[in-house]
């Protein structure tokens, strides 16, 4: 049996990849065969496990060796145990079923008198604990936490933290141990207990008050560290134990995040000032601690002088040559901007220059920061920089930039003309990276402005741009739409062509030519985009046919439509056929159908963030909450709790829209009432103006029923009196939310009925209820009985929860409804009065 060294050498000396794979395969097979041998002696087993480890590092599958690793653990020899534990930590993880076989070995070894053996067991438990292991082995950890051996205490503390993470109920068990541990002098133990505190804080909300009582002790340690002199053991380039520093600051930051005025806060403020002033003079070595201190300053309720100190430190970091310091400073400034926007504005020029930096990470940070510091004053300058940046950046960032920039323009643009020209420039460069709702917003924006001259000018600009940049999806889409709506306005005007500098006059034929170019483009990446363009082209062709006078032009337009009647895409074919029908209607009728669209409302979107951030550390109005983006904080908050447990109540909004189009389509073949607006396949944000619909219907005298859902009959149900098994969950002026416990027999299963009652005087529609339970439990929701509530009406939904018997019943509920057209969202926690499964 060759040794490990020989094996490694033979792998490394293989001349080709094929030879290497052959060596590996052969050895792997040898190891597997030898494992099957019942009488394998320990020495050979150890050799094989060592080779297995090498296979692991190479990335080869090692699952066949799992049980063998466990066999090594029962040996009394230390070297065997050491190898066995090392291998176990690598080859096993908490998802393997074999993990439970470890329980016995770990249990015995943690009681071993040899501190190193106990240490090995602790280390393994800390790295690969599962909830079951946590449940079985926490007594051992508890005992070791109380031992006098510092080596074991420090490991036990970290393991305890891991156990709390796997099983949050254990936090109540470990919390009383914390004070004793906090009094220890050894840095290792302190690091461990601080981690335990953080873990308890994260996993158990009820512990927050008790944890605050530990703050004086933590502050004392921080004070000691600040005033301590040089200590060779812990020193890192002149700073005494930066690891402990950072850990202390981080823990304080976590505990004191939402605390209002108190002595602790004052003491912390003083200490932070001390820390910052002591370390300000240091060079790069102290930056890690300074960075942590500055972050802490901006999370807790510090006084303004401290905040100014923080910003100054950040500016110092920003001007360093070290890339890491600059990166870190840019990142923190994003958080700071909420509190001290003026201070950050001072650094605008630095931020802008960082946009051109050759390091991608710094560019990204600078980009996010640029959007954050945008105001009405600096938007012009910043936009210029951003457009240059957009030109040169890579694909990943383009959608982010286009979305953010359009939102920023919406908020801060000085006038509409500039706004629109910026949008056109953006579309020229990155037209393929616009998301659909941004495009709809742009169209809505155009329609909102009534100024004919401006609209004419804009349309001409669009035509100019799209002649050259017909590859950009966003630009083409907007241009086609505008041609359809405002084509008649631009007839007769002239413009200078981009390349040839010739003045071209816009005639009907030129517009038709442009349309034909667009409808024949097939260079878009996504089929859906190409189909959208075709669909829009058809509609525009139809609209223009009623506006044009030239017979030749109208004939060409008709040809465009008839050609599409044989298109392979269903939607396009249907549209083409419909439009063909309309084409032959008398002119007066056509004009009625194809009038200008009234402007839809412009959707206000919030900004999106480039990097998803956790919200546990900041509660002061998360500045980067999402619009419709998954990187949003509030979305993450709910989702983090849920994991896969979230069950969404289907909001019938989408189905309603489909119902609308379906009814109208069927009407088309009966009478000829047509849905005038484009509904792009993506969920349409443009709302259907009800008045326009009525006009069309009147025009034809047909009975095209608008399929708005009939409101539920108004019943005046008096508010039900709470019964024994009914628990009030939430109540405000609009909604009364009650949970009725139907079944809770204590065997890990509960059936609840959630009842939502409308307390207000108006109709609430689009009711949606989302529920979440803790990770250890499972949730099943039925669909809600009724999504529209008239005053006094109520709707119910059934909630089934399964989980560990005896675990607490806790549900987080998020409700959404529309009141008088305004969407409202409410979130609350329901504790079931301490009931358990």
């Amino acid at each position: 049996m060759s040794s490990l060294k020989t094996f490694i050498k033979s792998v490394r000396n293989s001349k080709t990849i094929a030879a290497e794979r052959a060596v590996i395969r052969k050895e792997s097979a040898k190891i597997r065969t030898s494992f099957r041998d019942v009488h394998l002696d320990e020495e050979r087993r150890k050799k094989n496990i060592s080779k297995l480890m090498y296979l692991y590092i190479l990335g080869e599958p090692t699952y066949f060796g799992q049980v063998e690793c466990l066999k090594l653990l029962v040996s009394p020899k230390f070297s065997t145990k050491r190898l066995g534990y090392m291998a176990t930590m690598l080859v096993l993880d908490e998802n393997q079923e074999i993990l439970t076989l470890l329980t016995n070995s770990l249990d015995n070894d943690m009681k071993n008198s040899n501190q190193f053996i106990a240490g090995l067991a602790l280390c393994t438990l800390g790295n690969i604990a599962s909830p079951e292991l946590a449940q079985d082995l926490y007594p051992n950890v508890e005992k070791l936490l109380g031992s006098h051996n510092t080596y074991l205490k420090k490991k036990a503390a970290i393991v305890a933290a891991k156990l709390v993470e796997k099983n949050p109920d254990l936090s109540e068990l470990f919390l009383p141990k914390v004070p004793a541990l906090l009094n220890d002098k050894s840095h290792g133990v302190l690091l461990g207990v601080l981690h335990l505190i953080k873990s308890i804080h994260l996993n158990d909300e009820s512990s927050h008050d008790r944890l605050i009582t530990f703050v004086p002790r933590i502050l004392a340690h921080l004070r000691l560290l600040t005033t301590t002199g040089y200590s060779p053991e812990y020193d890192v380039k002149g700073i005494p134990d930066p690891f402990l520093y950072v850990s202390l600051l981080r823990t304080l930051r976590m505990i004191m995040a939402n605390v209002e005025e108190s002595d602790n806060l004052e003491a912390l403020n003083d200490l932070l000032t001390q820390v910052c002033s002591k370390l300000e003079g240091t060079k790069s070595a102290g930056f890690a601690v300074l960075y942590e201190a500055v972050q802490t300053i901006f999370v807790i309720n510090s006084d303004s002088s401290l905040k100014i100190l923080g910003v100054n430190i950040l500016s110092k970091l920003l001007t360093q040559r070290d890339n890491n310091a600059r990166y870190v400073a840019l990142n923190t400034l994003l958080n700071v901007i909420e509190y001290e926007p003026l201070a950050v504005q001072r650094h605008k020029s630095t931020v802008v220059s960082c946009l051109q930096d050759w390091d991608i990470s710094i560019r990204r940070r600078a980009l996010e920061l640029t959007f954050a510091i945008m105001t009405q004053q600096n938007i012009r300058v910043l936009t210029k920089e951003l457009l240059t940046f957009l030109n040169n950046t890579d694909e990943e960032l383009k959608p982010y930039i286009t979305t953010q920039l359009s939102i920023a323009c919406n908020k801060y643009s000085p006038n509409f003309k500039w706004h629109f020209e910026t949008l056109i420039s953006m579309m020229k460069v990155a037209g393929n990276y616009f998301s659909d709702d941004v495009l709809s917003n742009i169209l809505a924006l155009i329609m909102q402005h009534d100024d004919r001259a401006l609209t004419t000018h804009l349309t001409i600009e669009l035509i100019r741009a799209s002649e050259k940049y017909y590859n950009e999806y966003g630009l083409v889409l907007v241009t086609i739409w505008c041609l359809g709506e405002y084509g008649d306005l631009v007839l007769g005007s002239t413009y200078e062509q981009k390349d040839s500098k010739k003045t071209k006059s816009i005639k009907e034929s030129s517009l038709v030519d442009l349309l034909q170019v667009f409808s024949n483009i097939s260079t878009f990446e996504k089929i859906s985009q190409a189909n959208q363009i075709k669909a829009y082209t058809l509609t525009t062709a139809l609209k223009l046919s009623s506006k044009f006078k030239d017979r030749g032009a109208i004939e060409s337009l008709r040809k465009i439509i008839t050609k599409a009647m044989h298109d392979s895409h269903l939607e396009i074919q249907v549209r083409a056929i419909e439009y063909n029908e309309i084409f032959f209607q008398p002119a007066s009728v056509k004009r009625g159908i194809l009038e200008k669209m009234p402007p839809p409302p412009v959707k206000q979107r919030e900004g999106v963030s480039l990097l998803s951030r956790s919200t546990t550390l900041k509660t002061k109005g998360s500045s980067s909450s999402s619009g419709g983006n998954d990187a949003g904080n509030s979305g993450n908050l709910l989702l983090d709790l849920l994991g896969e447990d979230i069950k969404k109540d289907a909001s019938p909004e989408e189905t309603k829209k489909h119902e609308n189009t379906m009814d109208l389509l069927s009407d088309i073949f009966g009478s000829i009432s047509v849905n005038q607006q484009q509904q792009p396949p993506a969920p349409a944000k443009l709302q259907k103006p009800a008045s326009q619909n009525d006009k069309i219907i009147d025009l034809f005298g047909s009975s095209a029923a608008s399929s708005s859902p009939s409101p539920s009959p108004a019943l005046s149900i008096p508010k039900p009196l709470p019964k024994d098994n009914e628990i009030q969950a939430y109540s405000d002026s609009n909604i009364n939310f009650v949970f009725v416990i139907k079944e809770n027999s204590g065997n890990g299963f509960a059936l609840l009925e959630a009842r939502v009652q409308n307390n207000s005087a108006s109709i609430l529609s689009n009711l949606s209820v989302l529920c979440a339970v803790t990770k250890q439990q499972k949730l099943q929701l039925s669909s809600i009985s009724n999504t529209t509530l008239s005053p006094g009406d109520s709707s119910t939904l059934n909630v089934k929860i399964t989980g560990n018997p005896g675990s607490k019943l806790k549900i987080r509920v998020k409700m959404g409804y529309n009141k008088a057209g305004q969407p409202v969202n409410k979130q609350f926690d329901f504790n079931a009065g301490g009931k358990t499964l």
Binding site: K5, R12, S50, M53, I57, L58, G59, F78, S79, R82, L83, M86, M89, L90, E94, F116, G119, L122, C123, G126, N127, Y151, K154, K155, I158, V159, A161, K162, H187, G188, L191, G192, E233, Y234, V236, P242, F243, L244, V246, R250, F287, A288, Y291, Q295, N323, N324, A325, R326, Y327, V328, W358, I360, S361, I362, R364, L611, S612, R613, S614, L617
Partner: protein, 150 residues
């Protein structure tokens, strides 16, 4: 302040050591290693040591012919992670006696032993370099003492 995983990579992208502090399937681990191996060796020397990758940050530093690569959450302190990597390298240097890549290839057990004495579950357990060295040396002595006894 938790490290999600630690990977040691050669300049050519060959893996010399991996340690995972989060639970992932074998496939996912391979995917991550592939992505990291494609990204990191291409970085120029003066560049920032932090890369934003999907929803976490990758922090790395090059020592001689090896890249030491860690992944942390978005909120974690990047600079202190660099200090942790530095500590690890220093201790290994003292353990092996002027460590080089070849040492780690043939004696990976020692690298793992040092790592397990420095970090548990992605969290640093001992900030004193001499203490870590002492414990590792004591355990090594115990092992060699046993083999002498045979």
């Amino acid at each position: 302040m938790a490290i999600k995983y630690l990977i040691l990579l050669s300049r050519q992208g060959k893996v010399r050591l991996t340690k995972w502090y989060i639970t992932l399937s074998q496939k996912e681990k391979q995917r991550i290693v592939r992505e990291v191996a494609a990204m990191i060796p291409l970085r120029k020397p003066k560049m920032c040591n932090v890369i934003e990758h999907k929803d976490s940050k990758i922090i790395y530093r090059r020592y001689a012919s090896l890249f030491f690569i860690c992944s942390v959450d978005n909120d974690d302190n990047e600079l202190i992670t660099l200090d942790i990597i530095q500590r690890y390298v220093e201790i290994m240097d003292k353990s092996y006696g002027n460590v080089c890549e070849l040492d780690i290839i043939f004696n990976f057990q020692t690298a793992y032993h040092v790592l397990d004495e420095l970090i548990i579950d992605g969290v640093i357990q001992e900030s004193s370099a001499s203490e870590v060295l002492k414990k590792v040396a004591q355990q090594d002595q115990l092992e060699s003492g046993e083999s002498l006894q045979r």
